[in-house]
Each structure stands twice: as structure tokens, then as C-alpha cells.
């Protein structure tokens, strides 16, 4: 079954849209077609959040609201969703509680970032189960830049207005909204356009595999958090786009086994966080600092890996754990170690018509330690200067196994072979035995200078993160080795 249009809900009514360019963005549609200018463009690359809108979808019988950056979200990606923008919130002259709190706390100055901030907080408020905490608010706002206020009044407004399960007209209309979404739900393969220019969204992997074999020149689109910039900044006009967002089943499945975790490539980074954290608690900070709430709501784990970025935050962690990936081409399945997938800068072992469908991650054994550290200029919503992941096996107090991988140190995420070898035999109680391995790691990579960091800094960081790992696994508690999350101890009073 095929469908020649996308369907979504806007201003409470269903819209069936066929006449749109495959590479049109949601923000363009809102501002130029719908003339809804409340949503702003601040940067056009998904970094400032002024264009934040909320997409609501049905998930297991409940409404799932996600904030997204409309500037880099392609129009076709709204298929099946309810679009909520800042103009939807107030009812007549009565402001929504989020809006009222922002006014009461003087949370806007110039006002340009405000619509995006209101929508990020709206998404937070609608999904809040109880009163939100300050770290939750900061997490929700990491993708919203404000240059005027210094954020304090915005955080206060959020703390006041996101005080528990939402009791507003949106919550009251949940059943109706779910019904409207259900009415649009089908299992059709979406194909809008012609055989030379189209936006397609197959509903099954079989349909995807067949379509991609037929159009191996098509662009595979997952969350568009990187591809969106090819369009808005590099002004590319990919004529054929196959979006993976309608795939369910194995493509978005989480299989949590005792020995390994299998993640479908289509899981958003937001949805992949909880299972990843079951591998090791260090994934909590890595995922919290991965992009922003908007980026994690759109971007997928498969997209992050398949894209082959040398600075993706997940790849080095998974390489250190020995993850494998599964690719499919037509009906052929292929498995290979993740590290083997990355051949060179932005070049991957992916054949024509082949796509990444699953990631299989072995759980670290009980006698092995894992550590992952991200270092960036700014803690939140910044691309890593260096990301180091360490998987260390111990016999008593001696290192007998080391698998170390870095992002930001080379043209691809890659391992540190010399350091891994030199680490064998380290005595945690004799720091003198650490020196050789610490030196070795500085020889494993030849990083570059760029806007994020100098080569010298990157090299020093790689060494120091290894040192920090050894200090931590030798027994120094993370509360005094890590600055992220550090809080000033209160004096006894």
C-alpha cells in the first residue's frame, strides 16, 4: 500500500500535503506557507533553538511530545505527527501556564528566543510526572540559547510552571488528540514525488530494502540533525530522500540480553539513552551532553554511527565495548565490528543500497571497568574536542585487558593500540607502572588543530583522561575527580 502525501495535524486540523519539495524544512513551511511567524530562525543549524516546536505522536497508547528544531527538520518528517507551535498555547487572551510564568518571572527580554524556550518548556511540562528539578530544566533548555537574560528567570519560570502532571487543555484533550493521530495512522509506504525527485518513507524494512536497491543514489535520512545542515547551509538539494522514521519493529527495538544489548538503528538518541545507561552509568553523562533535547529527539543512534563523524560521541564508547553492527542490503544481512565500519574521514564500509539496521553491544563483564569522558569547550550542546572511552579488565589490582577508543583524535573514531598493549600489567597500586601506557597513548594519535582544540591539547587530554581512568579504578571516588556535576560541599553548620 502506498500513500502519495504526508499527513499531519496543525492547528487542530488534519493536513494532507503532497506539494512540497523533498528538501523543504518545517520552518520554511511554517513561516512562508502557513505564515505562522511565531517560530523564529536564529541560526538555521539546530543550535540555538529559537525554532523549537513540539511534535506529538502516539506511543503505546499515550501521547509522546518531543521538542524539535524546525529549521533542520525536513517537512516530510512530520508525517503522522501533531505539530504544536508557540501560537497554539494561549487560549484566547489567556496565556498558557508556561507563558504566564515566563511573563511573571521576567523571563523574556528581547523575546526572540522566547517562542523556542516556551516550546521546550511546554514539552517538559507535558511529560513531567512530578515537580521538575533544576537539572531537568537545564537539560530541557540546553538547546535553547538566550543572549539577554542569563537564564535565571527562565529556570525559575520553569520550576514554577512544570510542577507536576500537566492539567491544561492539552492534557484534557489527550483522548481526542490520540484519536486524531490514530485516524492518520496506516501502514502505507509514503512516496511523495516522482521517480527522479521524491520524499519516501517506507513503513517496513522490506519496502525500504527494495526501494533503496532501486534508488541506491537516494539519500538515507534519519533524524536530519546533520543532513539538515547540508540543506540549510551547504544549500544542497538532494532530489531523492528516503526517510527511516516510519520504520518500527526490529528497526527501533531494544533487546536487553544478559550478555549483550541490541539496539535498532532507528531508535532516537533520547530513546536509546536508558538502555545505554544499563551498560554503564557513564553513558548517563555522555547521553545527557549529546547535542540537546531537540537533537536527541530527532537524531538516531543509527544515524550517529552511519554518518561516520570523527566526533560522534557514541562511536568511541561502543568501539571500546566491542560493539558490532548489522547492515542490510536487499535481503542480505552482514555483521561487522563497528570499528571496521569506519574506513577514513567520512568514508564507511557501506555498500550501494545497504543500510545500518542494528547495533549489538556486549555488556562489560563484572571484572571489567568502563569509563567514558567527554571534553568540550562548553559542557552542554557542544561537539567534543575529545571523547575517550576506556574498557579495562582487571585481575586483582593488575590490568590484564584494555580496549581504548577515542573520538576527536583522528579522522575516524578509533582505538589506541599502543596504549592498549602498554596497559597490560599496570599495577593500580604502583603509579610508576602507569607511565609507559600514559606515554604510549600520546603516540597512538596525530590529532589536528581546529576551532575546538589544538592538537597539543587533544594529546594531553587523551593522556590525562587515561590517567583519570586509572585513578578512578584504583579507588578515588568520581565526586572528587570529575568537574561535571561537581557541587561545592556544604560546610557543616
Amino acid at each position: 500500500m502506498k500513500r502519495d502525501h504526508i499527513s499531519f495535524i496543525f492547528r487542530g486540523a488534519r493536513v494532507d500535503l503532497a506539494g512540497f519539495s523533498p528538501h523543504a524544512t518545517l520552518l520554511e513551511w511554517l513561516r512562508l506557507n502557513a505564515r505562522a511567524t511565531g517560530t523564529k530562525e536564529g541560526c538555521g543549524e539546530g543550535d540555538c533553538g529559537a525554532c523549537t516546536v513540539v511534535l506529538a505522536r502516539a506511543s503505546d497508547g499515550a501521547l509522546d511530545l518531543r521538542p524539535v528544531n524546525a529549521c533542520i527538520l525536513l517537512m516530510g518528517q512530520v508525517d503522522g505527527a501533531e505539530i504544536l507551535t508557540v501560537e497554539d498555547l494561549a487560549e484566547g487572551n489567556t496565556l498558557h501556564p508556561i507563558q504566564q510564568a515566563m511573563v511573571d518571572h521576567h523571563g523574556s527580554q528581547c523575546g526572540f528566543c522566547t517562542p523556542g524556550i516556551v516550546m521546550s518548556l511546554f514539552a517538559l511540562q507535558q511529560s513531567a510526572q512530578g515537580p521538575v528539578t533544576r537539572p531537568q530544566v537545564e537539560r530541557a533548555l540546553a538547546g535553547n540559547l538566550c543572549r539577554c537574560t542569563g537564564y535565571r528567570p527562565i529556570v525559575d519560570a520553569a520550576m514554577e510552571s512544570c510542577s507536576g502532571p500537566a492539567q491544561d487543555r492539552f492534557a484534557a484533550a489527550t483522548a481526542l488528540r490520540l484519536a486524531a493521530l490514530a485516524e492518520m495512522t496506516d501502514s502505507a509506504d509514503v512516496f511523495v514525488g516522482t521517480s527522479t525527485q521524491f520524499f519516501a518513507a517506507p513503513a517496513s524494512e522490506d519496502a525500504l530494502a527494495a526501494l533503496y536497491l532501486e534508488h541506491p543514489d537516494a539519500l538515507i535520512l534519519s533524524g536530519a540533525t546533520d543532513v539538515g545542515l547540508w540543506i540549510t547551509k551547504a544549500l544542497q538539494t538532494p532530489p531523492k530522500i528516503i526517510w527511516l522514521g516510519r520504520l518500527r519493529g526490529a528497526f527501533t527495538a531494544i533487546e536487553a540480553g544478559d550478555k549483550a544489548l541490541s539496539l535498532g538503528a532507528g531508535l532516537t538518541l533520547a530513546d536509546a539513552s536508558a538502555p545505554l545507561i544499563t551498560l554503564h552509568p557513564d553513558f548517563a553523562e555522555i547521553m545527557r551532553r549529546f547535542g540537546s533535547a531537540q537533537v536527541r529527539a530527532s537524531g538516531t543512534i543509527g544515524g550517529s554511527l552511519a554518518n561516520g563523524s570523527p566526533i560522534g560521541d557514541i562511536a568511541p564508547c561502543l568501539i571500546a565495548l566491542g560493539a558490532e553492527i548489522e547492515l542490510r542490503r536487499g535481503s542480505d544481512l552482514r555483521r561487522l565490528p563497528l570499528e571496521a565500519y569506519f574506513i577514513a574521514y567520512k568514508q564507511q564500509d557501506r555498500r550501494s543500497g545497504e543500510y545500518l539496521r542494528r547495533i549489538i553491544i556486549p555488556r562489560p563483564a563484572p571484572d571489567r571497568a568502563f569509563r567514558a569522558f567527554k571534553v568540550s569547550k562548553r559542557f552542554d550542546e557542544d561537539i567534543s574536542a575529545v571523547l575517550g572511552a576506556f574498557h579495562i579488565g582487571l585481575a586483582g589490582r593488575h590490568v590484564i585487558f584494555a580496549r581504548i577508543a577515542f573520538g576527536g583524535m583522528a579522522a575516524t573514531p578509533s582505538r589506541a593500540p599502543q596504549a592498549e598493549m602498554a596497559a597490560i600489567g599496570i599495577d593500580l597500586d604502583a603509579p610508576a607502572t602507569w607511565a609507559e601506557a600514559l606515554t604510549a597513548i600520546t603516540l597512538d594519535y596525530a590529532p589536528i588543530d581546529d576551532a575546538r582544540a589544538s592538537a597539543g591539547y587533544r594529546t594531553l587530554i587523551s593522556r590525562n583522561l587515561f590517567l583519570k581512568t586509572l585513578m578512578e579504578i584504583s579507588g578515588i571516588p568520581a565526586e572528587i575527580t570529575r568537574i561535571s556535576g561537581f557541587e561545592v560541599p556544604h560546610a557543616a553548620e
Binding site: 523574556s108 533548555l141 540559547l145 568537574i483
Partner: protein
């Protein structure tokens, strides 16, 4: 109210002024209903403009083939210098061409512009030009410029006493070099303008500008028209911070030129990456300093060379670098000093105004010196600072102005020292650092003394236009612009107070050069001081006429008449304000007035290096605590206490907003915001993906901000003080606290830390200290 001066009344007697009224547009902001330039609905046939940027950093354009641009879909016109009917220039100094003509002086310079049916078509077409540039070796860094002796303006200095002799005689001497980074404004709304041609060559330009009058002048110059044919209107900006003072001119003038050539309404909204490339930023500096001091840390002599990277043209650099010099002593009495400045030319975008206008750079240098002196003498940095403050007996600045109220800052610092629990925390932190191997903590308390007034004297004037309509509603217009700071709200509060009417009877209207002409830019923190006074003058004039009428009509004397709560109380009668307005109209009393204000008591003789450039000083102090990771350089601000002097605040809520926002912006300047130019002169930090301003989690959870709340001793509007820029410099406390944390690694050494203190620079400083 001529009979009594309400500015001397206490805050408790005020009905609207000094109340924490909300920003006038707050309810619109939160609904997405506040209109910015790109939200103005275009009439049919409106066209869009996109600039073509130079791919080379310095050279001569050999060929510029625009045929592929013209042939691109949707293109209506391509603009080149040949299309400019007037003067191809946007600056007072005639060195900022609207469109490059022959020479290219920085990468990203506009070399042509495309006009097309849609913005998308214009942007695509702009990339199709075939440009051949004969490249020359660019001057990129401060060192390049010093080596080439390349300047945009002559050197300039202030000298007090005999600094060289005093340095030689001092008990101790230290010297150093401090690099101070620039800063991108990152206003959330990028540069934007919408030009609509009218009859007989008239042009209306809606612009996101802090200086409508200047844009009017530039557009008239470019089009070769009298100013009277050009109207510029600005309702609000989505942030500006100095970046839309001169820098809005090119966008506005290109839109106007496009409208002139095509005879259609034309809009230009810059793409964010283009905005980064084309528009100027905060000046980066290298301060080369030498200080002489005694065992107590008292400074005997200070010699500093402020080497400022001005970029490829003059722009605002005269004022910016002068202001860096004016603030090179901050709050300290320097018995002998030489403050020298160099205004360096580089082949980079022309640096411009940015909140603080050079003041922050001058101030950071002396604060850094205070820490160096403290570390050298082993004294607490706060004690060293206090030992050097201006006092009643030692209160003349290096530029000859007497600081008349040094007691205000001294007592402010004492209050903050107590309320922030500085001494106890100092001890706790020292104990922590003794035993913590990786995380080191630091603490600092630094003052700000910022001079208020434009140093270019003629800008210290303002006009306002007030109409009272026959229904009692009031139309307010003035030359100031709204960029989020709440100026419109504050001025409306003043007018409502004067007429004794509710605030919502005053209708705030867009800044428009046809209503209030010859205005100054909204800058130098002076918006409320100047426009508030002008609006007060207009309201008082109208009120005076109403009173004169009422005395006749009701047989009363002026002192029997009071305006309050929307009523006019005349002896024992009460007349609603609207009724009196209606009666005035019926009796031919003029209910409109254009008010005017010029700042008294200021003068500055630049050649003689003496005078009183500032009407008064705004004071503040901040105490910041930080933690650093000596293995990675990562850092975190854990607590900030601020006490700031906004005089008797016109609006405490808005002023707190300026203080917090300014502080966080300054914190970004000194920590994560790094401008990186590559070896070819390309700005590598070209967008928010690579240029990192603070986000919510960077702001300390423990953030305590208070107002001093004492009336300004100078006769300003309701005895308030300017508050736009000074708080930015409170963030120097963060930099100083980072120095303090680093210093704990080896208290025997001086710390070498340039700004911004990125994790990389902090780690580099830590490594240097670790070397035995």
C-alpha cells in the same frame, strides 16, 4: 510638575516609577506575537536580497563574473558598486564600502548582492559568482600588525606623574602580557532590514538597528537623496548588544539600494553564518603591562600598552579604544601611570561596539594586575584591591576627572564582602585545595566602576514626542530603541508617573526618524538617562499647559493641582484625566510636545587629555566561586554574589535582568566564547556550532543578585543609574576566581592565563604551574 522636583521624592511616593513592571512586550514575546523584521508581512512582489562574500582575505578583484548569478532562477537584479547612485560607503570615516570596489580587505567582505524572488533563490544565486582575486599577504594578528606598524588611527595616551621613575623606585616590579579575546554579539535575531520605496524617491526602511538616525543618514548617502526622503523605523530588535549600532547600516543600505534599483519592496535577512562573517565583533586586545608596588600591594606605578585589533576599518574604534583607556584604572588610584593605546589595522572584519565598548578590556587588564600583585605579595587579592581604591583624598583619574563619590563603591564592596561570606569561604577553599588532587576551587571579589555618558559629547542628547489625545490616552515616541533591555517600558513609566495615569494608558510606539529626528544611538547605557529625561520634559510641558488651563477653568492655583491615579485633583474637586484632556482640546490647548534633553556638566578635551567626560559612575561588585579540573581544564562557576548600583532603580525587575544577563554575557566572553581565525584569516568559529555562548547549565545554581538601592547623587531621571553595560564587567570576578584556583597549584608562581579562559587555556596554565 515644575513647582516641586519629584526626582527628589522617595520611591514610596511613586506610583509607577521604581516598580517592577513587566516588559511591555512580555505577553507578546511568549505568544510569538511580537513582530521582528522578518515577521513583517511582505506586500506582493516583494523581493529578497542576499550578499555575495569575498572568498579571499586581502587582495584586488581581478575579475568578478556575475553572469551565472544573473542567469540563476528567480534573480531580478545583481547589485554592484556601479548601481550605487550616491556614495558607496556606510561609515563616517569613508572606509567601509557598502560593496567592495576593487580592493578586498577581509574574508567575507560583501563584493556584490543578489535580488531575487525568494530568499532561497537569492542565497543560491549568490554562490554562483566567479571571482578571481589577486591575493596579497594579509595582516591577521596583533603581532602581524605591530610588526608592520599597521594602524587605523594614531596612538594615544594618558600620562600621570613620572611612571618610569616611579617604576624604577618601586619596591617590587612585575610585568606581563595579557591576551584578551574578542566576542561575537550573537544577538538571536540576525541583521535584518526591509525597505519599501515610496513616491519621488522616498524610502522607508524597517531595520533592526540601534541607530535609526545613522541608518537614515547612510541610506540617504548611498541613494544620493536628502535625509528628508528617508525614514527608518525600528519597533524592536531581537538583541543587539552594540552589534546593531554601525553594523546594521550595511544590511539596511543594501535592502534600500535593492528597493531603489528594482522599485520593489526588498528584504534582507542575513544567514547566521554570513552575519558572523560580515559583521564586526568586540575588539581583541593584547595588554602589555608593567606594575610597581610595595609590600602591602599598593600600586606605585602602572604602565600599560593597550594593543587593540581594530580590523580593516576605523568604525567605532576611536571611542572603543578611548573607553578602554578610561577604564584602564577601573576603581583604583594610580599615582603614576602611562596608559598607551595602539589602534591596529588587520585584514579581519572591522571590530565594533559591544556592551562595555572597550571598558571591559581596559578593566580586565588592571584586575589581572591586581591578582598578580596579590600573588607576588602573598596578600589576599581582595585586600590588595581595597588598598588601591580611590578615596576622598586620592580621587583623580588618569584623565583628570575627579571621582566625587568613592565612598559609594567602598561601602558596596564591604557589604558584598560580608553578605557573600568571603572570608569564611576563603578559608574553606584553601582547606579543600590542600587535599583535593584534581579539582581545585577559587574565589574572587572584583569591583566595577563604569563611567556614564557618551565620550563623543554631541551624542549626549535626546528627543521625545508625547501626544495626549482627547480620550486621555498618551502616545509616546522617543529616539531610543528597544533591544530587549526594557527601555520602552522605563520611559513609559516616566511618562505615566508625570501624568499620574496608569501605565497602560501610555501607548509605546516604534522608534521612527520621522517622529523624533537626529537621535543618538541607543548605546553607552544611556538610553534611559537620555530618553527618560526628554520624555519627562515633554510630559511636563504638556502637563504645565493642562495645569495652566485648569487654574483658570477651576479658579485654582497651580499648587492645588495634583495628577494621580488617572485623576486630576484640583483643590477639593476631582476631574478624570481624560475629561481634562478633552476640555483642553475644546479650549485649544496644545496637547503635544517634543521634549529635549542634553546632559549637563560634561566636557572632554581629548587633545589636552583632561576634562569631565562622565556625568557619574555606575558601581558594582561581584564575588565568584569556581572549580577547575587540573587534568582537563574543564571548569564550573559554582556560586556568584552580586551587589550592583543602579541608583534608585527605575524598574528593579528590568535592572536585575540587565545585571544577570550582562554578567552571564561577560562570563561567556571570559570563558567559553572563543573567536578562532585560521591561518588564512577565515573565522573558523563561524556559527553557534563552533562559537559557544553560555547555556542554562553554565549559570551557577547559586546566583544571588541585589541592588544597592541608593539614589544617584547626580541629577538623573528619578535619580536612577544607567545599567546596560556595567554588569558585564562583573564577570571579571569569574576570570579572577579561575586565576585563584590555578594559583593554588603552586602559590609560589605567577599564573599565565589569557582570556577567554577555555578549558584548553586553563589546562595549559595548570601544566605550566605543575612543572617543577
Amino acid at each position: 510638575m515644575p513647582p516641586n522636583d519629584s526626582s527628589l521624592l522617595g520611591a514610596e511616593s511613586l506610583a509607577v516609577v521604581s516598580h517592577p513592571v513587566r516588559h511591555d512586550s512580555a505577553a507578546l514575546h511568549v505568544r510569538g506575537a511580537a513582530a521582528y523584521i522578518d515577521d513583517i508581512r511582505e506586500p506582493q512582489g516583494a523581493l529578497h536580497v542576499a550578499p555575495g562574500l569575498s572568498p579571499a582575505t586581502r587582495g584586488r578583484i581581478k575579475t568578478l563574473n556575475l553572469d551565472p548569478v544573473r542567469a540563476a532562477p528567480g534573480v531580478v537584479a545583481v547589485l554592484t558598486p556601479a548601481d550605487v547612485p550616491g556614495h558607496n560607503n556606510t561609515s563616517h570615516f569613508d572606509d567601509d564600502p557598502l560593496i567592495a570596489d576593487g580592493a578586498v580587505v577581509f574574508r567575507g567582505q560583501v563584493t556584490f548582492a543578489v535580488v531575487a524572488r525568494t530568499r532561497d533563490e537569492a542565497r543560491r544565486a549568490a554562490r554562483l559568482a566567479q571571482v578571481e582575486i589577486e591575493e596579497e599577504t594579509p595582516i591577521l594578528t596583533i603581532e602581524d600588525a605591530l610588526a608592520a606598524n599597521a594602524t587605523v588611527l594614531p596612538d594615544y595616551d594618558f600620562k600621570i606623574g613620572d611612571p618610569h621613575a616611579a617604576l624604577a623606585a618601586a619596591q617590587h616590579r612585575l610585568e606581563g602580557k595579557l591576551r584578551i579575546g574578542g566576542q561575537e554579539h550573537f544577538y538571536l535575531e540576525g541583521q535584518a532590514a526591509f525597505a519599501i520605496p515610496g513616491e519621488s524617491g522616498e524610502m522607508l526602511v524597517h531595520s533592526s538597528t540601534q541607530d535609526p538616525t545613522e541608518l537614515q543618514n547612510v541610506v540617504a548617502g548611498v541613494l544620493g537623496m536628502p535625509n528628508a526622503f528617508v525614514t527608518v523605523e525600528t519597533r524592536r530588535m531581537g538583541g543587539a548588544f552594540g552589534g546593531k549600532e554601525t553594523q546594521a547600516a550595511q544590511t539596511g543600505a543594501l535592502a534600500a539600494l535593492a528597493a531603489y534599483v528594482t522599485k520593489q519592496p526588498c528584504k534582507l535577512r542575513l544567514d547566521r553564518d554570513d552575519d558572523f562573517a560580515i559583521t564586526g565583533k568586540r575588539h581583541d586586545f593584547r595588554a602589555d603591562w608593567t606594575v610597581g608596588f610595595d609590600d602591602e600591594g599598593r600600586i606605585a606605578a602602572y604602565d600599560v600598552a593597550l594593543n587593540a585589533r581594530c580590523g580593516c576599518s576605523v568604525d567605532m574604534s576611536p571611542g572603543v579604544v578611548d573607553r578602554a583607556m578610561f577604564h584602564a584604572a577601573n576603581a583604583y588610584h594610580l599615582p603614576a601611570t602611562n596608559i598607551m593605546s595602539r589602534r591596529l589595522f588587520t585584514n579581519t572584519v572591522s571590530n565594533t561596539a559591544f556592551r562595555g565598548f572597550g571598558g571591559p578590556q581596559g578593566m580586565l587588564a588592571i584586575e589581572r594586575v591586581m591578582d598578580a600583585v596579590a600573588h607576588a605579595t602573598g596578600r589576599d587579592p581582595l585586600d590588595v584591591r581595597k588598598a588601591n581604591l580611590y578615596t576622598a583624598g586620592a580621587n583623580v583619574t588618569p584623565y583628570g576627572q575627579t571621582v566625587e563619590d568613592p565612598d559609594v563603591l567602598a561601602s558596596l564592596i564591604d557589604k558584598l564582602e560580608a553578605s557573600s561570606d568571603y572570608r569564611a569561604r576563603r578559608a574553606q577553599i584553601a582547606a579543600w585545595n590542600e587535599t583535593s588532587p584534581i579539582i581545585k576551587r577559587g574565589l574572587a571579589l572584583t569591583p566595577v566602576q563604569f563611567g556614564i555618558s557618551f565620550t563623543l559629547q554631541h551624542l549626549n542628547q535626546a528627543g521625545a514626542l508625547v501626544h495626549v489625545y482627547q480620550d486621555g490616552s498618551v502616545h509616546l515616541n522617543h529616539g531610543g530603541t528597544e533591544m530587549g533591555q526594557g527601555l520602552f517600558t522605563k520611559v513609559a513609566q516616566v511618562v505615566a508617573e508625570e501624568f499620574g495615569i496608569p501605565l497602560d494608558w501610555v501607548r509605546i510606539t516604534a522608534t521612527n526618524t520621522a517622529k523624533v529626528p537626529n537621535a543618538s544611538p541607543t548605546a553607552a547605557s544611556a538610553g534611559s538617562d537620555l530618553n527618560g529625561m526628554a520624555a519627562q520634559a515633554a510630559a511636563r510641558e504638556i502637563k504645565g499647559r493642562m495645569i495652566a488651563f485648569a487654574t483658570e477653568r477651576y479658579d485654582a492655583t497651580p499648587d492645588q493641582i495634583r495628577f494621580r491615579d488617572g485623576l486630576v485633583v484640583i483643590g477639593n474637586q476631582t476631574v478624570p484625566f481624560p475629561e481634562l484632556a478633552k476640555l483642553c482640546r475644546q479650549n485649544r490647548v496644545q496637547l503635544s510636545h517634543a521634549g529635549f534633553y542634553k546632559t549637563p556638566d560634561i566636557h572632554w578635551d581629548r587633545a589636552a587629555r583632561t576634562g569631565r567626560p562622565f556625568l557619574y559612575y555606575a558601581y558594582g561588585a561581584a564575588c565568584a566561586e569556581v572549580a577547575i579540573d587540573v587534568l582537563t581544564g574543564e571548569n564550573k562557576v559554582t556560586r556568584v554574589d552580586i551587589l550592583h548600583d543602579a541608583g534608585r532603580s527605575l524598574n528593579p525587575a528590568l535592572d536585575i535582568g540587565q545585571i544577570e544577563g550582562g554578567f552571564v554575557q561577560g562570563m561567556g566572553w571570559l570563558t567559553t566564547e572563543e573567536l578562532v581565525f585560521d591561518a588564512k584569516g577565515r573565522l573558523a568559529t563561524h556559527a553557534p556550532s563552533t562559537y559557544k555562548i553560555p547555556v542554562a547549565s553554565d549559570v551557577p545554581a547559586d546566583f544571588r543578585v541585589a541592588l544597592l538601592d541608593e539614589p544617584n547623587r547626580a541629577a538623573t531621571i528619578y535619580r536612577s543609574k544607567a545599567v546596560g553595560e556595567p554588569p558585564l564587567m562583573l564577570a571579571i570576578a569569574v576570570y579572577s576566581a579561575l586565576l585563584d584556583a590555578l594559583h593554588s597549584i603552586d602559590p609560589g608562581k605567577q599564573v599565565q592565563l589569557d582570556a577567554p579562559a577555555t578549558p584548553e587555556r586553563i589546562l595549559k596554565a595548570a601544566e605550566a604551574l605543575k612543572v617543577v
